[in-house]
């Protein structure tokens, strides 16, 4: 027995790993298979498609395998305004959603703590829009804000808007739609961090000569950084690739097209698959770079 005890101590790590690995692998298998099938395969296919050349037969919508990296240069030259516009709109919508959601989440998560019923009620109100498809909600906004709608005609009658102005089809309408649609994605992560915020830190801050504004800047904001990072990512990433709000059938117009609309048009209308694939890869890479820099700069690795 004594020798057996010594034997196991020689390599406890190895022993443990060997014993643990089959179960761990088994549990990981469905996830790995799923990712391989539905993420890796399409990604590889997308990269291959983005490098294809039009078929030698000249038949539209048919492409031959190639290594034509110039496709990327072409799409950047053709669609640079759309790419920039996408990230610009997404950025503005993210900032607006944050400005709207932070006070809301702060109220629900901190100020409303003594009244749990009010907290639940307000959370339900934040989540309630999810019960209706966002396509329907966006269409409803289109109706509400169309040129003939009550809101716009009233605004024009009151001379708040010039008589020949439009709302739908403008960048303002698209950014409004993006902001509106992503507010719950911003509010919920903010709420979860603010709900856990220990108010004793705020008391300590004010005890140490910090005015309410300074407490907010130096204590509340840094402590809610995980929620801010999660919320802005959940808003910015899908907003940058969104093609519903900016679409002509919803709140957008011809000069508000975002990269998502261009990809959609190239895939489904123009049948220019390499261009659509290249644009998708560019969108994905730019988001990846932005997110990496953002998380690094936010310095929330240890708080997350």
């Amino acid at each position: 027995m004594a020798f057996a005890a010594f034997a196991t101590t020689t390599g406890p790590g190895e022993e443990l790993q060997r014993r643990r690995s089959p179960i761990a692998l088994l549990l990981l298998l469905p996830g790995i298979l799923y990712l391989a099938l539905f993420f890796l395969t399409p990604l590889v296919s997308l990269v291959l498609t983005s490098l294809q050349v039009p078929s030698a037969t000249g038949e539209p919508g048919v492409y031959d395998p190639a290594f034509k990296w110039e496709n990327y240069v072409t799409v950047i030259n053709d669609y640079l305004p759309h790419i920039l516009r996408s990230f610009g709109y997404a950025l503005i919508a993210t900032v607006l959603a944050l400005a709207f959601s932070y006070p809301l989440a702060y109220f629900i998560g901190v100020k409303a703590r003594p009244w749990p019923l009010l907290q639940s009620l307000m959370l339900v109100l934040v989540i309630a829009p999810f019960f209706i498809s966002f396509l329907l909600r966006t269409l409803a906004w289109k109706q509400l804000l169309s040129d003939e709608s009550f809101v716009i005609t009233t605004l024009k009658a009151l001379s708040v808007m010039p008589p020949d102005a439009h709302f739908t089809g403008t960048p303002v309408a698209v950014i409004f739609g993006l902001t509106y649609n992503f507010i719950p994605f911003m509010t919920l992560p903010l709420y979860t961090t603010l709900e856990r915020l220990d108010v004793r830190y705020l008391e300590a801050g004010s005890d140490l000569y910090a005015s309410p504004l300074q407490v907010f800047r130096k204590v509340t904001i840094p402590l809610s950084m995980p929620g801010i990072v999660a919320g802005t990512l959940l808003t910015f990433i899908p907003a940058a690739g969104d093609y519903v709000n900016a679409s002509r059938s919803f709140l957008g117009g011809s000069d508000t097209q975002m990269i998502g609309n261009v990809i959609e048009a190239n895939f489904l209308v123009l049948e220019n698959y390499p261009a659509a694939a290249a644009l998708s890869i560019i969108l994905m890479s730019v988001i990846l770079v932005i997110v990496t820099i953002y998380i690094r700069r936010a310095g929330t690795e240890e708080l997350l």
């Binding site: 008391e203 005890d207 402590l223």
Partner: protein, 401 residues
């Protein structure tokens, strides 16, 4: 600008609470409290949980608003000032060190808010005072409990507040570290000369550290004075039992001389000096500390300078190294506690043995309490009953929420 900004406090300021009361929905935490803490003193507010001591501290810090009354620091009315405008800093029970800042930035926080020169240098200096400068670059959660406590102390001390508030700052530390920190805190207070207001439920901690102790119970101050004074001459049964242990007996005054009163307690005559008794006629409660009692195995010789009780029987003996605690059952006086120094090896009396106890009449004290209110002075503040109180308070709190 407010009085909090500007230069360091040269020395501590005195604190004056005038007619302070604090009512929360459903209960009164503090009732008409008047308290003056002289500048430069180490003042302890001692009491069981729920007695209103932490609320008092939060009122002084500005984290709560009093229902009535005024708070003056260094003669200036601060009742309507916000916490950040008061020349007061707090060492919180939970420490509340900012987790997103390094130890150094935590300590420099107050200095930066007041825009004082060289915050980093001063923060390092404060960390050197608590011997933690080598950990300045760490985050608070990388430190042990004792180290965090010292950082919290440095973070408050570095601002040189006229008044430093300590809210049970040693509660989370283990016994050995607590003893060490008690001594360190006392030394630091003497070095910097600031006014310390220390809130605690640990009577030993209060006695070790404070110049003056106020014993608080149910939102009122029961008694205030130097530790020796409170211990040797408690005014109420609550103080007599919260600050150490006491043997208390109730009886009627049967004789008074210019120097002493004699009290008849269930047929036994006990003498207490006039100067050490708050009441001199009618029903009184008198007491004596367990360590002042001597144990006799034979009836002691009658001595006019000593009170004698006996015979009685030993019902429990517990040996604790330095001393032995004897529980003695007297047929009409109930249980008497005796602490005896272990001058010999082991206990001198055994369970069941017949004994007498005696004490110097100069060691007795008479309480100011109305005995009718407290017919039996069972020690209701031992650790068990504090735990029971806490439990009840917690249940009440949960019920409210």
């Amino acid at each position: 600008m407010s009085m909090a900004t500007g230069a360091f406090a040269e020395r501590g300021a005195d604190l004056e609470l005038v007619g302070i009361s604090k009512r929360f929905p459903g209960f009164t935490a503090i009732e008409s409290l008047d308290l003056t803490i002289p500048a430069g003193s180490f003042f302890a507010l001692l009491g069981p949980s729920g007695c209103g001591k932490t609320t008092t501290l939060r009122l002084v810090a500005g984290l709560e608003e009093p229902t009535t009354g005024r708070i003056l620091i260094g003669g200036k009315d601060v009742t309507n000032l916000k916490p950040y405008q008061r020349p007061v800093n707090t060492v919180f029970q939970s420490y509340a060190l900012f987790p997103h800042m390094t130890v150094l930035e935590n300590v420099a926080f107050g200095l930066r808010r007041r825009k004082l020169a060289d915050p980093v240098g001063k923060a390092h200096e404060a960390l050197r005072l608590v011997e933690l400068d080598h950990l300045a670059a760490r985050k608070p959660q990388q430190l042990s409990g004792g180290q965090q406590q010292r950082v919290a102390l440095a973070r408050a001390l570095v601002n040189r507040p006229a008044l430093l508030l300590l809210d049970e700052p040693l509660g989370a530390l283990d016994l050995k570290l607590r003893r060490q920190m008690q001594l360190e805190l006392k030394t630091i207070q003497e070095e910097v000369g600031l006014t310390f207001l220390h809130v605690t439920h640990d009577q030993e901690e209060a006695m070790t550290m404070a110049d003056t102790i106020a014993v608080m119970n149910k939102g009122r101050i029961e008694q205030m004075g130097a530790p020796e004074q409170l211990y040797e001459l408690p005014k109420t049964a609550f103080v007599a039992n919260f600050l150490g242990q006491s043997n208390l007996f109730t009886g009627t005054v049967v004789g008074t001389t210019s120097t002493a009163i004699s009290v008849d307690i269930a047929g036994q005559k006990i003498v207490v000096p006039v100067g050490r008794s708050h009441r001199h006629s009618g029903d009184v409660t008198i007491g004596v500390r367990p360590e002042k009692l001597s144990l006799h195995r034979e009836a002691p010789v009658i001595d006019p300078a000593r009170n004698v009780i006996g015979p009685a029987h030993v019902i429990d003996v517990s040996f604790s190294g330095v001393s032995t605690q004897y529980l003695i059952a007297h047929p009409s006086l109930g249980t008497i506690v005796v602490f005896a120094q272990n001058m010999a090896f082991g206990p001198v009396a055994h369970v069941g043995e017949q004994v007498w106890v005696s004490w110097d009449i100069e060691h007795g004290f008479g309480l100011a309490d109305d005995p009718a209110e407290n017919p039996r002075f069972a020690a209701d503040t031992d650790t068990k009953s504090i735990a029971a109180q806490r439990h009840a308070a917690l249940i009440a709190e949960l019920g409210e929420a």
